[in-house]
Amino acid sequence: MIRPLIIDNARILDPASNTDQTGAVLIEDGRISDLAIGGPAGVPDGAEVINAQGMVLAPGLIDMRVFVGEPGKEYRETLASAGAAAVAGGVTSFVMMPDTTPAVDDGALVDFLIRRAEAQSPARILPAAAITRGLAGKEITEFGLLKEAGAACLSDGSASIQSSALLRSAMTYAANFDMPLVHQLTDASLAGDGVMNEGLFATVLGLKGIPREAETIPLARDLQLAALTRVNYHAAQVSTKGSVDLLATAKSNNSRVSAGISINNLCLNENDIGRYRSFFKLNPPLRSEDDRRAVIDGLRSGAIDTIHSDHDPQDSEVKRQPFAEASYGAIGLETLLAAALRLVHSGDVELMTILRAMTSRPAEILGLETGRIARGAPADLILFDLEYPWQVTEKTFRSRSRNTSFEGARMQGKVMRTLVNGRTVFVHEEDA
């Protein structure tokens, strides 16, 4: 029998109910059994009490885009190490992309991942199933069976479906099972062998550029097909002003459309690449400062719904290469909240908006009961100190890989405690 737990005197921030008040929550049997907003809680006999004065209590973060090396590339990341990294960053649930070896395109593999994650990961892991077999963009997978096995959504991960006809089929069939379809936006022929944002900076570095239109052209197509098929469509990640404009228009007519953005595209721009820093080789590429300002506006206006880490562990073998030859991707689970809080401290975005994009909106899109602080909801919660100063140091990462795009960055704000299903799975310890 687990003792009831009270988190008292916290600043409760719940985007789902638009709550921002001091109060307390009572947790029993893994769920939030009571809430006391605006005042102290009554304490049941035998309850453990956490005095959270000065802390923000928010729903645990839901990260819609995480790559894990297991199965196939466990040296990069395992379900256990990704889970540990997640809860240290305040992420209590994450969608795991199907880009594994083999790809997650079969119900048996979904089932395996769910069971293994339950046994080994302190965070909830929600497998995304491939839209197409082997992520090859040729034939659709067994959406119904994959849903039965527990797949949270459909996605071809970092691959982008080039055939409009196939994508239409996939959307139509996904709507049949009411499965969210999450799609990466890359016009492969237009992106060509580009490796960073197209523009003067790429020209100076002598690197091939990826034009913004390699993102906006497939987005425009996807939005039209989404309207046609009425699928629950989520543009995996956008990075340009043009995409924000397209989404704003589409959303006025279609409420089943949503879009995500990587924290990297919100916080960094192409100039961060500096002298060929391959940790900043990302997909989509870091764009210009004008684009970054536009996507921040898009987040504020609601054109962009969710913020994710795009956690993509890569080993030094593939990252310690000349920029053009290095692999794409950066880890980000452990820095997601702190990096997002930069936007709050800079006055660009309200704290409530930031948290909504990482809690209630992903929960709504994926149909989860987590992501909110409400009676009866699972007690997936975080306590964080909004002001806590710290510096990102690689050696403290729980992830098996070190390819952070926030190497050495000074942060303000840190997760102090993470609970999943009412159980404390992470407590911040002061640096020795």
């Binding site: 197209e198 020209t203 100076v204 002598g206 000349p322």
Partner: protein, 323 residues
């Protein structure tokens, strides 16, 4: 004997060169560019003597590490090093380090253990030489990294122009051809820009990179317009893969509109010189009669190449012995 030693920096003519490596023209201050050109003048004298040697690099080891073939540049660096008395080792890496299962950083560690004094590196990837320079203890010279830079080419081009025109000041240099993929163009635009030389680029729009107008003073897509009043016409090599119907429709059409022939050259100044980094595609980017004609200074560029590389080696290595 001419003042060889004074021209090569050992009697106080030149202050110590402050750069650790030569990766990019962008790293050089204008006075450092002038310094290297002046040093190279002295090296021309050395190279034209019967006994073409100086003891400057005696006891030093120079490794030429070429990840992509370039007989011309590699030979030029080899001759430069040997004329200064260095032990020169050529290492051609035909397959990329990645396909051998070794990262460039691993290669750097291996080379570092051989204790060279200078690495001359060519690599197909932009930034590769920069990455390598961060991992080794010796001086590194960029002999061309992808479409990024080829700094010694820009220096030898500037030296060639200065020798023919007497000065760089007030000149107009037109760079024509595949600007988008040319490291030679980038280094030249940076160098000439640093010395306030007026530059133009001329190319079809498909071969002009984004934002080029911020690097060059003027951008032209019409060859005749772009060549008007030019003092120097610098042609670039067209890679055959560009002529595959995507960037340009055909070599024939390219030559018609962007190949340097007498009619187009007539728009430049009457005393304009014609340059090319080589190797040339005669009949593609340049008329054979012009390539081999009176106004061509292409073979001079080769001679200046050796002198410039001697100057760069001379400037970098003594500087590294400073306390």
């Amino acid at each position: 004997m001419p003042q060889q030693s004074s021209r090569t920096g050992h009697s106080g003519d030149f202050p110590p060169f402050q750069q650790r490596h030569l990766i990019s023209i962008a790293d050089l201050q204008p006075h450092e560019i002038i310094d290297l050109l002046d040093r190279a003048e002295g090296m021309i004298e050395v190279s034209r003597q019967e006994r073409k040697s100086l003891p400057t690099l005696s006891g030093k080891t120079q490794i030429n590490l070429f990840f992509e073939p370039s007989t011309r540049t590699q030979s030029s660096f080899e001759i430069a090093g040997k004329r200064l008395g260095a032990l020169v080792v050529n290492m051609s890496v035909k397959t990329s380090s990645v396909s051998k299962g070794e990262t460039l950083v691993d290669t750097a560690a291996t080379l570092n253990a051989m204790r060279p004094d200078v690495l001359v590196v060519r690599h197909s990837a932009a930034g590769a030489v920069e990455l390598l320079s961060q991992k080794v203890g010796c001086a590194v010279i960029n002999a061309g990294d992808g479409a990024h830079e080829h700094p010694t080419q820009a220096l030898l081009d500037a030296l060639t122009i200065r020798n023919h025109k007497g000065t760089l000041a007030g000149l107009t240099v037109a760079i024509c051809g595949d600007i988008a993929n040319s490291r030679v163009a980038r280094s030249n635009l940076l160098l000439l820009g640093a010395l306030n030389v007026r530059t133009r680029v001329i190319a079809p729009r498909t071969l002009l990179p984004a934002g080029i107008e911020n690097l060059a003073t003027e951008v032209f897509t019409d060859m005749e317009e772009g060549l008007k009043g030019a003092d120097v016409v610098m042609m670039l090599r067209l890679q055959h893969e560009r002529a595959n119907g995507r960037m340009i429709p055909s070599v024939r059409e390219y030559y018609r509109f962007y190949g340097l022939d007498e009619a187009k050259l007539a728009h430049a100044k009457p005393d304009a010189i014609v340059m090319h980094p080589g190797p040339m595609n005669r009949g593609v980017e340049i008329d054979p009669a012009i390539a081999d004609g009176d106004r061509s200074v292409i073979t001079d560029q080769v001679e200046m190449g050796v002198a410039v590389r001697m100057a760069v080696l001379d400037a970098l290595l003594p500087a590294r012995n400073e306390p």
